[in-house]
């Protein structure tokens, strides 16, 4: 029978507010314009008849060009895993979690202090995330310091493709890196056409607030779009610092910046896949920091997704992460609140799992815990299914004094679908918990890491392609003076 399940939803804006934000973003682009510090993008905009102030790299974008771009931009994207067999819909109200990307430090499991990450840390993280069933995507989550900075962005994708089946969320640190990173992806798929048909990675591109697309980020938009590789736009206004202090005002700026990115992508290639995302934050006026776990941050994210959905675009947000420096109660609180709201808002790509300290630190233990948080959130939005008709009346036929439901086939039939089973949350009775060593969630998570790593299986295609990938990577490394790549840890296959 057809299921009639209400998907629980959260909305922060009235329809009127959504329209007002969109109108103001249009006006902002027409009247104030946007800085685009990239010749190729400016040329595209100029050819499309937009007014350009060359001396200031400023372009005034007309409403009808944005509207036309909205028409050519696909409303949903399909990502595919390494061997192209599993498909992930990025659109509608589908929610996919992935680890927060590009952390510069890892929280050491032993010392619980931050330290720099090396090749072996990246490989461990990738292997672990492969086993985390509630994180659909990988991200190039850590920056390795045992290769030169100039190739750090390429190197993390290279390692990823050596070990992972899941699709990637990634991005570039330098303009020169885009080509080799795309080459790596093309090598996996076989050719450019196949990569465009079955995208394996999303490229993040962050405008610089307020209202600027830099040389680097605009180039990423142009080149990715031409190849049919999805661009994820990540505006990152900070309320009262780099964007208006009001949440509604920040939404206007975020939308104007996104419209600018969208137009560049659609001019580079009509129909190019674009995701409307963001990593804004409610700026902390005392500390001068960018709290990702603040309610205001999450409200901007959810509201922006609502606007993007109104425009029929795929969505993203940096949610489900924490500003805490340890995997502690604050980490759980902020992560769970963000991940829950993201799911309720129906955000398609939710980046943040594993992250601490304002998007700068990754933790393996937190990844394992967040996997459970994400699992619970996904359960939440699956809603209350009706399953059978009648719903329950027929189950009471054998009602008697000793009756319980454990014995019913109805229970066996549905219990796995009705319940989420956690891997590290504590649901033991007190005595059992004591007998098991009184472990807290961090300790249970570290045991779970060991267990999961032992389950990891390296995809066959990774091995098959490793020679070709290494060739591309070695050439990049040589161009910046690195003769030999760091040794990649042996992993049982």
């Amino acid at each position: 029978m057809a299921e009639e399940v209400l998907r629980p939803r959260v909305r922060f804006l009235s329809q009127e507010a959504v329209e007002q934000i969109i109108d103001e973003a249009f006006e902002l682009l027409e009247e104030t314009g946007l800085f685009v510090e990239n010749e190729e993008a400016l040329k595209l905009l100029e050819d499309a008849g937009q007014k350009i102030d060359r001396a200031r790299y400023r372009v005034y974008i007309k409403r009808d060009l944005v509207e036309q771009s909205l028409k050519t931009c696909p409303s949903e994207i399909r990502l595919f895993d390494l061997d192209g067999s599993r498909e992930y819909l990025v659109g509608q109200d589908e929610v996919h979690y992935d680890p927060g990307s590009a952390a510069i430090k890892i929280l050491d499991s032993e010392t619980q202090k931050e330290r720099e990450a090396r090749t072996s840390d990246l490989v461990t993280l990738y292997r672990l995330v492969e086993t985390l069933e509630n994180l659909d995507f990988q991200s190039t989550a850590l920056v390795s310091t045992d290769v030169p900075k100039e190739i750090a962005d390429i190197y993390r994708l290279y390692l990823g493709l050596l070990f992972c089946r899941k699709p990637f969320v990634t991005g570039i640190f330098r303009v020169e890196s885009l080509r080799p990173m795309l080459d790596l992806l093309v090598a996996v798929r076989g050719d450019e056409k196949r990569l465009a048909e079955k995208p394996l990675a999303i490229f993040d591109a962050c405008p610089s607030p307020p209202l600027k697309w830099s040389r680097l980020t605009a180039q990423s938009l142009v080149d990715c779009s031409r190849m049919g590789v999805p661009s994820e736009l990540i505006p990152m206004g900070l309320t009262g610092a780099t964007s208006p202090v009001t949440l509604a005002g920040t939404l206007v700026q975020q939308l104007a910046e996104s419209f600018g990115g969208l137009v560049i992508c659609q001019l580079a290639r009509p129909g190019a896949p674009v995701i409307f995302g963001g990593s804004p934050a409610g700026f902390d006026m005392r500390k001068g920091t960018t709290p990702m776990g603040a309610p205001e941050t999450m409200m901007i994210d959810c509201a922006f997704a609502q606007v993007a959905k109104h425009l029929n675009l795929p969505t993203h947000a940096y949610m489900g992460l924490s500003d805490s420096k340890l995997v502690d109660a604050q980490a759980g609180l902020e992560t769970a609140m963000g991940a829950t709201l993201a799911a309720l808002a129906g955000i398609n790509v939710v980046s943040g799992a594993g992250m601490l300290n304002f998007e700068s630190t990754q933790s393996l233990e937190k990844l394992v815990i967040d996997n459970d948080i994400c699992g619970q959130c996904l359960r939440l939005v699956r809603g209350i299914a009706l399953r059978e008709k009648p719903l329950a009346r027929h189950l009471f036929a054998e009602l008697g004094p000793d009756f319980n439901f454990l014995v019913l086939s109805h229970t066996r039939k549905w219990y796995r679908q009705e319940h989420y089973f956690s891997s590290v949350l504590d649901r033991d009775v007190y005595d059992t918990w004591t007998a098991l060593g009184r472990l807290d969630i961090f300790q249970r998570a570290s045991r779970e890491i060991t267990r999961r790593l032992s389950l990891y299986q390296r995809p066959g295609l990774c091995l098959e392609k490793s020679g070709e990938l290494k060739k591309i990577m070695t050439a990049c490394a040589a161009s910046c003076g690195l003769k030999e790549l760091p040794a990649v840890p042996e992993v049982q296959t």
């Binding site: 510069i104 430090k105 900075k149 610089s208 610092a241 780099t242 006026m285 005392r286 001068g288 700068s360």
Partner: protein
């Protein structure tokens, strides 16, 4: 002093503390028109006002917007007062000359701007080189302008190492004992500052002022 003059100084002081940017300038002008000496106004109203702003920040009562507004109001008043000093052939003794900027590779300038404002408000001459400033530009400018201090900002852990490069360049050019270096920015710590051989580190814009002052007092001399 006449009570109305006292009231005027009090109003000016309050306007700075409360960050009333539009009022501080006119009040300073009014004070001069009433016959008060510029130096007297600076000493009795402006300096205690900006110190009070710093105190309110340290106490946790003021947040960044109030801190910035206070520094801006101070700047408005000081512009008027310094003009008066200049036309009277006087000049204010500089607390020191500072070259400030965000290091190469880093475009974040909010924190740096804040430190520049607070230093200016506290009597320093500040030459702001902006953001993403090349290593040798800091040293070239400091040498040319005979600066006392180079103040370096970095927000990214990836760029904070460029702070060290500035220190290293000062050493290799034989300027290290002539110019003090202070560092700041979100990822920077006191320990890091020591490791890279910087002379001072401030956790906030308010602290940066006291760090700069203590570096100057250690120098024994300063620019007139």
């Amino acid at each position: 002093m006449k009570p109305e003059l006292n009231n005027l100084l009090h109003s000016l002081k309050q306007s700075i503390i409360q960050g009333q940017v539009d009022e501080a300038g006119p009040l300073a002008r009014k004070a001069l028109a009433s016959g008060l000496e510029a130096l007297q106004v600076i000493e009795k109203a402006c300096v205690p006002a900006i110190e009070e702003v710093g105190r309110l920040w340290e106490a946790g009562d003021y947040f960044l917007p109030e801190l910035i507004a206070g520094a801006e109001a101070m700047k408005a008043a000081m512009t008027v007062l310094q003009e008066a000093l200049k036309s009277a052939g006087q000049s204010l003794k500089s607390a020191g000359r500072v070259i400030i900027g965000t290091v190469e590779g880093d475009i974040h300038d909010i924190g740096k701007n804040l430190v520049a404002s607070m230093l200016r408000a506290s009597g320093f001459e500040v030459i702001d080189l902006g953001a993403d400033v090349k290593i040798d530009k800091f040293v070239d400018m400091a040498e040319r302008e005979r600066a006392d201090i180079i103040a370096l900002s970095a927000l990214l852990t990836t760029t904070m190492l460029n702070q060290k490069k500035v220190v290293d360049l000062l050493v290799s050019r034989g300027l290290r004992d002539k110019i003090k270096v202070m560092v700041g920015g979100a990822p920077v710590t006191e320990k890091f500052a020591r490791e890279i051989g910087a002379d001072g580190y401030g956790e906030s814009a308010v602290q940066a002022v006291s760090v700069a002052r203590s570096l100057m007092s250690g120098r024994g001399g300063s620019h007139g």
